[in-house]
Symmetry: C2
Subunit: 164 residues, 2 copies
C-alpha cells in the first residue's frame, strides 16, 4: 500500500547526491546495497516520524483495497513494533489514504504468525513464511527470487486474484 | 496486567472530590455509573498520554506473565486503536514493566477476532466473544455477571490455570 522503497530512494539519492534506482536492488535488501559510510544516516530516516507521514501511496492500492473491503473483511497489518515512532504517523497515514478501513481493522504487530486470516498479501518473506493462512507475495526488488508463494506484481494483480 | 480501573478511580475521585470504589461498579460499565456532568472531563482522561504512562501494574502480573513466557509463546494484545495517543505510552509501559516480552510479541489492534492464539485472557466480553480460541475472562467489576467463559479472579488464578 505504501511505496516505502520509492520514498527511501528519493530521500537517499537527494541526501547523498547519487542516483540509485529500484533495479539496483534486485534480490537484495536495501542495506546490502547502499554504501557502508551512508548506513548510519540512512538508518536514521526510519527514526523520523516525518519519514512515514510522507510515504506515497502505491498506484491502484486505494481503489483495490476499497473494492476488497466491500466484499471481504479486510485487516491492515503492519509491522510497527521495530519502529515505535512510526505508530502515530502510520495510523494517520492509513486514516488519510484509506479512510474506508475502520480503525478496528488496523493491526500493529511484530510477528505476523499471530494474525488469523485466510490470506496475507505482503512483500516480506519473513512474515509470509510464519503466517498460518496462504501468503501472497507482493513483488518488491528484494523478493524477486522468492518462489514459495503465489505472486502479485501490482494492485491490478491483487484485483484480478480476489475480485475477478 | 494494567490496573486501569484503579488508576481511573484515583484520578476521578481526586478530580471531583468524591469517593467511588470498585464496589460501585459491579456489573456496570464506568460510564454508566459516574455522574452525567462529570462525563466529558472523565472521557478526556483517556486522551492524555500521561494517563497511560502511569497506570499501576496489577499485583502478580509481572511474575506470572514472566513464568508463562518461559513455558508458552505469549503475545500481549491491546485494543489501542480507539485511543491513538495511547500507542507510545502503552508500548513504553510494557517495555518498562514486562521487559521479558519481546516487542515482536506486542500487538495493537481493535478487534481481537484477528488474533490467532489458543487462549485469550481479557476482561472485555466484546473481545472474548469474537476470539477464535478459548476466551478466559479476567474478573473486573463490569464483567462479574458474565457466565460464558472460564474465569480467573487474579493473576494467581492465571498461574494455577496454566502452570500448575
Amino acid at each position: 500500500m505504501a511505496d516505502t522503497m520509492a520514498h527511501f530512494l528519493e530521500k537517499y539519492n537527494r541526501n547523498f547526491g547519487v542516483g540509485l534506482k529500484t533495479e539496483h536492488f534486485q534480490g537484495r535488501q536495501v542495506f546490502e546495497v547502499i554504501a557502508e559510510a551512508h548506513k548510519p544516516e540512512a538508518r536514521d530516516y526510519f527514526q523520523e516520524e516525518g519519514f512515514f507521514a510522507n510515504i506515497p501511496v502505491m498506484p491502484g492500492s486505494a481503489e483495490v483495497v476499497k473494492a476488497l473491503a466491500e466484499r471481504y473483511e479486510v485487516f491492515i497489518t503492519t509491522a510497527a513494533m521495530d519502529v515505535p515512532c512510526s505508530f502515530t504517523p502510520k495510523f494517520d497515514w492509513l486514516q488519510r489514504h484509506f479512510p474506508f478501513i475502520p480503525t478496528s481493522n488496523i493491526v500493529f504487530c511484530g510477528d505476523k504468525s499471530i494474525i488469523a486470516a485466510d490470506y496475507l498479501v505482503d512483500d516480506n518473506t519473513r512474515h509470509l513464511s510464519k503466517f498460518r493462512g496462504e501468503g501472497i507475495i507482493y513483488t518488491a526488488p528484494h523478493n524477486v527470487n522468492e518462489k514459495r508463494f503465489r505472486r502479485v506484481n501490482d494492485w491490478e494483480d491483487v484485483r484480478v486474484l480476489f475480485l475477478s
